[in-house]
């Protein structure tokens, strides 16, 4: 049976994401189970294992704990304060796990808010399109809520509906992914900054946003962007470094946590951890790259029947383009030295 994949940027898609929770591990069949299962049952089980090894794995890192704490504090503060609501921005390079952190924090907030009060839509999740205007920002929120609107509707009209509906639905948080898309050119960036403030002032919602190097965007650094800078906490997510002993240990622990999620029959525990230096050299400490490398290797181990990940298998997995570029740059730098 296949299940329909729902957009995360819709109310029903987000609700289904929260209800599903973290991926449930699918253990490999024992030799007895495999012997008694039909071919169709084995094929279905293999499909489920591959689906598990392709799902989003969330490792709670120190920045993520800080994020959740800050977000919880801000939502509580904003719900009782009459001042301008404050928000949180998660900033970092592509591939460091901003979206994973944002959705994970959002999921926890959703569950906590739902538990404490009768809220039908506690959290809204939107992804901003490129060169996003104030109107498009509101349209994304309307789309999430399944509220009808016309293309010609002005932002003020959309905002009125958002304000009324979110109040009735007990909404407290808007998760905004790709917040950097609001900043394009100085003039528009200032309007975006103004609008973002107006949006939160009007609706009273807490914005938790993620974006590529969001702290450097003109929306925050220039002109009236100070208004945003003064109201938003910024948490930066960096790729794992591998220079000092302490950094190497942190990376090794992270790899260990990642490895513990694998469900391969013949994979020796701790073998990935032993390769942590190699893994850092290939991924440069980017969570997204590590997930890609290990999960793809796991899929190959399942389909080939080897049921283990070793260096040879990892060598055969191509990395994403950004990781390859970083490796090439590092190699050039070493040659020059």
């Amino acid at each position: 049976m296949t299940t329909e994949r729902l957009e995360l940027t819709t109310r029903e898609g987000w609700a289904s994401f929260v209800a599903a929770g973290p991926a449930i591990p699918v253990e490999p069949l024992s030799s007895d189970e495999a012997a008694s299962a039909t071919r169709a049952q084995v094929a279905e089980h293999t499909r489920q294992r591959i689906a598990y090894h392709s799902s989003l794995w969330v490792i709670e890192t120190s920045p993520m704990r800080t994020m959740l704490q800050s977000a919880t504090d801000l939502v509580t503060m904003n719900s009782v304060s009459h001042g301008s609501p404050r928000g949180l921005i998660i900033s970092g390079e592509p591939g460091v796990g901003k979206t994973t952190a944002l959705t994970s924090v959002g999921m926890k907030l959703h569950l906590s808010l739902e538990r404490n009060a009768d809220r039908s839509v506690p959290v809204i999740y939107i992804i901003l399109p490129s060169h996003c205007t104030a109107k498009e920002f509101c349209q994304q929120v309307m789309h999430f809520l399944a509220l009808p609107y016309k293309e010609s509707d002005k932002p003020g009209k959309l905002l009125r509906s958002i304000q009324t509906t979110t109040k009735g639905a007990g909404t407290a948080v808007v998760l905004v992914d790709e917040i950097h898309s609001l900043s394009w050119g100085e003039k528009m960036a200032q309007r975006s900054a103004d609008y973002l403030k107006y949006f939160t002032d009007t609706t009273g919602l807490t914005i938790i946003a993620a974006g590529v190097q969001a702290t450097n965007t003109v929306m925050i650094t220039q002109g009236r962007g100070n208004q945003i800078a003064g109201r938003y906490e910024v948490i930066s997510i960096e790729p794992f470094a591998h220079t000092t002993q302490r950094q190497r240990q942190t990376w090794r622990s992270f790899v260990e946590s990642f490895e513990s999620l694998l469900r391969l029959r013949d994979h020796p525990a701790g073998s990935l951890q032993e390769m942590s230096e190699y893994l850092h050299a290939r991924t440069h400490g980017y969570v997204g790259s590590l997930a890609h490398l290990v999960q793809r290797a796991a899929m190959r181990a399942i389909t080939s029947g080897s049921e283990r990940i070793d260096r040879k298998l990892l060598d055969g997995v191509p990395m994403d383009h950004a990781a390859e570029q970083r490796s090439a740059a590092e190699a050039r730098s070493r040659r020059r030295k």
Binding site: S120, A146, S161
Partner: protein
């Protein structure tokens, strides 16, 4: 296999349904609850073009397009049949949640007469019998219905904004409206003759005041088609000397006889 059909999405909130509430009233309260333009919501619902596939809350995929169409056509009976369908839907992800919050006041009356006590007790939900021109008194509260077309709630609907002046005139100056009755009657008849929307209005007018005289030669003011039912209802109330009828059942005949006598006399 892809069917090419879009997933039906539901509105995030709907007001709690009250028995005997007409579709239009529920739509209006939904619009208030969600801060939406009523006309846009009606278009989505398909009230204007009769296409139920465009009503997000209808859950056409659950109840079937044919049944949805018949429900919509039934209008008054529509919600009584529809709401249990929604309540029974167990997929919380795509089912609209009933709002437990009271609507902001003052309520907006959709065009029918109303009883403010009933509105207060029913969170703004109207009663379908208020739409009948012969219902003049609230039996529950023993008081005449308020002609109340225009309790306003800012920004609910542009349509109603446009109706405000004309219907307010109808309420404020019944004499002028009475004088204009033959004009409007003629206009309604002519529209109906061309196959426009208002057969129902004409039918009701004929039943309510069969002896009203027609004057076919007077020039017509520019009146929107959408305003006609409202004006006709205002005229009915103004012309028919409304506070005379108390019964809830078997209504209409006695009033028509009375009015026929009065108009003939």
């Amino acid at each position: 296999m892809t069917t090419g059909q879009q997933r039906v999405r539901c509105l995030p909130l709907t007001p709690a349904f009250h028995p005997g509430e007409p579709l239009r009233s529920l739509l209006l309260r939904t619009a208030v609850l969600l801060g939406l333009d009523l006309r846009l919501l009606c278009e989505q619902v398909g009230e204007f073009d009769g296409d139920p596939r465009r009503w997000p809350a209808l859950q056409v995929n659950r109840i079937g397009a044919e049944r949805a169409a018949s429900l919509l056509a039934a209008d008054h009976e529509c919600l009584a049949a529809l709401v249990p369908e929604l309540a029974n839907a167990n997929d919380s992800g795509i089912t609209p949640r009933l709002s437990r919050r009271p609507l902001p006041r003052p309520w907006f009356a959709s065009g029918a007469a109303s009883c403010s006590d009933c509105l207060s007790e029913r969170d703004g939900a109207e009663r379908k019998e208020w739409q009948d021109p012969w219902t003049l008194v609230c039996l529950d509260h023993a008081r005449p219905l308020r002609p109340g077309y225009l309790d306003s709630l800012a920004g609910v609907t542009e349509v109603v904004e446009a109706q405000r002046d004309l219907t307010a005139l109808a309420i404020a100056s019944p004499d002028r409206v009475s004088a204009a009755a033959p004009i409007v009657w003629d206009l309604v008849a002519r529209r109906a003759h061309r196959g426009h929307l208002h057969e129902l209005a004409v039918d009701r007018m004929q039943r309510a005041a069969p002896h009203l005289r027609r004057n076919p030669v007077l020039p017509m003011p520019p009146v929107s088609l959408m305003l006609l039912p409202e004006i006709v209802r205002a005229l009915e109330r103004a012309v028919l000397n409304w506070p005379i009828w108390l019964a809830a059942d078997g209504r209409g005949s006695r009033m028509m006889e009375t009015e026929a006598l009065r108009l003939d006399g």
